[in-house]
Assembly symmetry: T
Homo-oligomer: 146 residues x 12
Amino acid sequence: MVKILVIHGPNLNLLGKRETDIYGKTDLQTINGKISKRAESLKASVEFHQSNHEGDIVEMIGKAAKKFDAIVINPAAYTHTSVAIRDAVSAVDTPVIEVHLSNIYAREEFRQKSLISPVAKGTICGFGTDSYLLGIEAAVSMAGKK
Amino acid sequence: MVKILVIHGPNLNLLGKRETDIYGKTDLQTINGKISKRAESLKASVEFHQSNHEGDIVEMIGKAAKKFDAIVINPAAYTHTSVAIRDAVSAVDTPVIEVHLSNIYAREEFRQKSLISPVAKGTICGFGTDSYLLGIEAAVSMAGKK
Amino acid sequence: MVKILVIHGPNLNLLGKRETDIYGKTDLQTINGKISKRAESLKASVEFHQSNHEGDIVEMIGKAAKKFDAIVINPAAYTHTSVAIRDAVSAVDTPVIEVHLSNIYAREEFRQKSLISPVAKGTICGFGTDSYLLGIEAAVSMAGKK
Amino acid sequence: MVKILVIHGPNLNLLGKRETDIYGKTDLQTINGKISKRAESLKASVEFHQSNHEGDIVEMIGKAAKKFDAIVINPAAYTHTSVAIRDAVSAVDTPVIEVHLSNIYAREEFRQKSLISPVAKGTICGFGTDSYLLGIEAAVSMAGKK
Amino acid sequence: MVKILVIHGPNLNLLGKRETDIYGKTDLQTINGKISKRAESLKASVEFHQSNHEGDIVEMIGKAAKKFDAIVINPAAYTHTSVAIRDAVSAVDTPVIEVHLSNIYAREEFRQKSLISPVAKGTICGFGTDSYLLGIEAAVSMAGKK
Amino acid sequence: MVKILVIHGPNLNLLGKRETDIYGKTDLQTINGKISKRAESLKASVEFHQSNHEGDIVEMIGKAAKKFDAIVINPAAYTHTSVAIRDAVSAVDTPVIEVHLSNIYAREEFRQKSLISPVAKGTICGFGTDSYLLGIEAAVSMAGKK
Amino acid sequence: MVKILVIHGPNLNLLGKRETDIYGKTDLQTINGKISKRAESLKASVEFHQSNHEGDIVEMIGKAAKKFDAIVINPAAYTHTSVAIRDAVSAVDTPVIEVHLSNIYAREEFRQKSLISPVAKGTICGFGTDSYLLGIEAAVSMAGKK
Amino acid sequence: MVKILVIHGPNLNLLGKRETDIYGKTDLQTINGKISKRAESLKASVEFHQSNHEGDIVEMIGKAAKKFDAIVINPAAYTHTSVAIRDAVSAVDTPVIEVHLSNIYAREEFRQKSLISPVAKGTICGFGTDSYLLGIEAAVSMAGKK
Amino acid sequence: MVKILVIHGPNLNLLGKRETDIYGKTDLQTINGKISKRAESLKASVEFHQSNHEGDIVEMIGKAAKKFDAIVINPAAYTHTSVAIRDAVSAVDTPVIEVHLSNIYAREEFRQKSLISPVAKGTICGFGTDSYLLGIEAAVSMAGKK
Amino acid sequence: MVKILVIHGPNLNLLGKRETDIYGKTDLQTINGKISKRAESLKASVEFHQSNHEGDIVEMIGKAAKKFDAIVINPAAYTHTSVAIRDAVSAVDTPVIEVHLSNIYAREEFRQKSLISPVAKGTICGFGTDSYLLGIEAAVSMAGKK
Amino acid sequence: MVKILVIHGPNLNLLGKRETDIYGKTDLQTINGKISKRAESLKASVEFHQSNHEGDIVEMIGKAAKKFDAIVINPAAYTHTSVAIRDAVSAVDTPVIEVHLSNIYAREEFRQKSLISPVAKGTICGFGTDSYLLGIEAAVSMAGKK
Amino acid sequence: MVKILVIHGPNLNLLGKRETDIYGKTDLQTINGKISKRAESLKASVEFHQSNHEGDIVEMIGKAAKKFDAIVINPAAYTHTSVAIRDAVSAVDTPVIEVHLSNIYAREEFRQKSLISPVAKGTICGFGTDSYLLGIEAAVSMAGKK
């Protein structure tokens, strides 16, 4: 059974409440529910963490290496500013899949550059909640190829 | 039944033969076979086109609007240089999913900027053949939401 | 009688159907009709070509030198990416007038730079169908001054 | 009857005397004569102002809104430096047509960027005196569409 | 016997007629004649293709791998804009020699950057027709070292 | 009693009439009325000047030094282009407070850079008419600290 | 009664001790005292938080929406680096006023760009402790207009 | 007898009073006195104008062509922002000598770029009042060579 | 006896386990042991802290001023992104020595710019564990010169 | 008989010993031998100089004009930094051919810009020792055309 | 008696022979003669040095401090590339006057930036031989003010 | 016994005399004395060279490979401009340690980029004379690890 860690970055706890024209009206709990269901259908287990702290996310990734077969991460705002998370991703062998709800390439200039993408296994963005579900599919597949 | 057009951009006819350290050893025919199988499992039909001509791809997209429910495109080299393909994507209502075999954000500077991404529905890259398979999943889902 | 070649670049065959808020609701046939009428009123003849292929446009210009007194071109997407069309324009003595339906200077950053303008006789943009009509007037006048 | 204000920017009073290889040998009075004649043929009236003062031009535009149906402006040097004129153009509903005698895109780098173009209705450049005449045609047409 | 493919890019069919101050007065047929003669003297055979289409050139290179021992290419305008041709060059093992008639480093800023050079075996430019002849010499030598 | 000079830059005479979605519907006279009232409540006197001329504003500042204890200036378009006004501000000891009705950092790229801010005492922007009222408060306080 | 949250960013706990030539000799407690007094005079209540942690500030803003009518924030160093705080500000409807003790536009290049300003209601900087007091005035006024 | 026009740009009327660490303690009248004396010793006559208005300076130069043999100009702040003055300088045959009191290359980045220098005969800067005196020497010499 | 605080930044807890080709195979505990030994030989005492949290490091520095004579810091990923740590370093009088295991100038572009270096006493990088040992030597020497 | 000067720039004396993966294992003496042989076969004489001093190379070129019919230069490191050598090349009428052993366009960013190329007759790079041999061929041909 | 050192940079020994359209037809000896004469008329003595070696010029400046009251230098090509000469100029108290024959601001982009200007006393350029003569005048005046 | 070559770059012969606020009051001889003493205490021998000539330094490094176990170099001004010295450092296997007296990252923009650092073993800067002493320590340690 593939074990997947899903990390939600800063402000994602506000999902469904803030800027719904960009991020949609589904809240984080509902998204997690859908993710669990998809994981289950793929015979995978999944654990969720949301944090607004860069340092926490760095630590989650550092510790995940031993416990999980793959990581699905939506680094949110830290996508564009965190070398520390990038270094954590580089440091672990576990495949890391980067996902985004919105199409970051259709937004402000500074959001079109991800510090994480170059060290992630791959990137999925722009499909709303489906970005996470596709991320789970990718995670299961990549974990199998590790 | 969801009808999907899959467009392969320039040089992808050489797949499996060239630069196998970057693009893998699977050739285009094999990839198309896997795509068909995945599409079938999702109750979708799929049609394939490969072209090395920017103008051909512009025309395929322009005509696809009437015949297909979604387009999955790997624009390859034209990703980084073609405003004409971008404009074609903008011109159609059909959801367009951009896929890449390799992680373009881990390669040369000029490959890290996609002219297509800002107008595509979403982007999937870095998962090898799986990028196409996830693209088919996304296409089916997006076609349903149109 | 002044002989004018009118070249329509990529995606202009979709005119009136796509992004009507930017390009208007008039289709290419209707525009060509208006152009013919204006040309006629100025005692000029006009021939039309639309192509989505950069290479075709390069060839049209190369061959036009012998047959036409002036060229009116809307290079559309190739405005911003084609050195080949630029070189073709430089290569012919026939005056070339660049036109655009929309005001390209009021759009995305990359659309505000034309590779064609520096080698064209002059540029007209932002007046919708009128850009072509003014282009015909300019063509007749410039052909007379050659 | 369409009422048009024609504004000539800085140094245009020296026309026909200075840098005749770039700007031609026709002086401003002669140009104004040709403009009047073309306007007349289109059943339009025209009023001329030349100023070397940015502030004067700002004021002319601000006041023109009530008296004129369209403005044809050659902002000359202020094309590249005046946010104040740009703001004045934005502030009025009257359509503003920007014209240039020379092809500014074929000259120094700093002349290839117009601060006025993005807020003008449209731009015509490179046709010498004809740029103004085409501008009058555009003005009459645009005034009719307002 | 070394077999060499010589590819002439866009607008080179106009050679000897256009911009003779930059490209000289020799036409393409004459150049090909000189190339053949030089090849012959080096015991090499040579085949010529000229195309204005990016996609055609991509295909020529892709197919050349099996039939030729070396490629001499003057990508002309596509030198500065074609990632597709660059990728084709990367995809083949055949040594590719890039040549230019004019000294591209003494011309416009945008012509001083070649997308092809970094993946070509080597580059020769600025010697007029001699660039091709030196290219044939290089091709024969490089083919021998493959 | 603190004496304050309030300078309104170019196009502010059109306030309440132009682009009311950005600048609001209040006209300059009404704003001046509110400013006077706030000044009065703070035991300060206030004098108003509006000019569309860069040179006039330079001179106002140069002469203000002797007559006023503080200057509140909304340089409008000249914010982004006038080194002359910047130099005038540097030249006087009187504290200068820069105010803007709109949030200039939420607008076009070129409006996000103020040439005046680095030499002003401080900057207040984005609060509509309140920007001026807060500016008066700051002026009274800064004049007291001079 | 208007309820205001005042957030002090990183290193502001050292105020009055460090770099007193830039930030003044008043310590944070004294500033808070002055803020309280001003708030009181405006019939407003105020609550203070200082944090050196980006994640803490993100959370304060996320939670403030329900409890406060306005936020006055001095993001200090995070002004220039935190997309996470920017996103938190965007996510809440509560008006956010950005303040700075020093004139950030008169300092190092990297301090002249605020990531927060474009999404704040408005910005006040350069007036020392008065920046906070003017911020409170703005907060009360903006809360009334919400 | 050589006739020289000396133009002092914006804020130079404040000389000797403002920022004396940069511009020195000599006022404009004293400088003009020294210039007159030096001119006299070289058998030249001199006329002075100071203006804070860009448009005025444009006009002075335009008119000077007929009356003066050389122009010595300190464009002050307009050095860095005025294309209009640059164009006026280009428009006249009279040799124009650019002078600066301070060493503009040792000051802020934006002061290190002069729009006037490329079209002036030559530039002299950094010598305080002596910059003007050397400018007069240059003017007399250049007028002789015209 | 000189008291030194050694701060290890984010991900350094993974040392010896991750990317050993860049950072070596020695783990943090072993490095700390060597540092202690070198400190001892120089009659200095040393205290260690590792944190993945930017805010924690800001606070460590803020508090260190009273307890330590010098700080040796390897800011790791925060080197390139943290203005907050930079400000903390500026805020304290205690000499701060910046060290790096790898040669950051031989790595990715973004790693070649340190936000900390301009405010540190000095920088040592590229010597592996020796960077820390040299840092301790520098700390003892600098503390003596304070 | 054509007389050619061959100039080898800095560090080329170390050839065959240093970085053999980039520059090959052939030492300078061997290369010179091959050059002599090729020159001889073309009825040309050749003289060699190697220098690590920019000034020496400047002088060699300045003096070569009288003695040699052509210069073949590998400016090595000075390619990217020496305006002095560029000026020397511009100053002489003798045709100068620039050669490089390695493909400089496939190396570090700063090596992809040659200060010499724009003023050289032509450039040959990437063919190892063959670059020199082709350079001799070019020299003989160009000398004949002078 | 004021003692002046005149330093001529690289390639100036070729003066009068090379690129006479830019640098004039006067050779260095003649220029030195004119300089001596002007110096004499100002009661100053002068010593000349020309070098093509950056290091020589660095040493001349370093040693000049004791023997000369002022230095007039035309750094030629080293103007744009030599930090070493810049540092030598900074290191001496002797006033250094930078001169150029041509107007460097009217030439290639890279010639418009002088590394020497920011540390020189002042700069004179564009007046041909007169640049040196004005430089001598400036040197005498500055030496008197030291 | 470890044999170390210490190279002092341009202008360092003036140490202790020039710009003592930046470089301190210690002259080069005194520094060499301290270096010798430190080397001796580490059982190492040391040889000193100072040169103002880029070419000399290139040669010293090229020859050092055979005679020395390590090089400590302060390239001074050449740090920022010399690709030739960089290439010499790359060419030798001997470990090269780069040192600077001042903190180059706290100085002018152009001094913050070292061309040498990416190819040096490591860098030490900002500690005054101690930079050299730490450099000797590093040299001894690195020589041992070669």
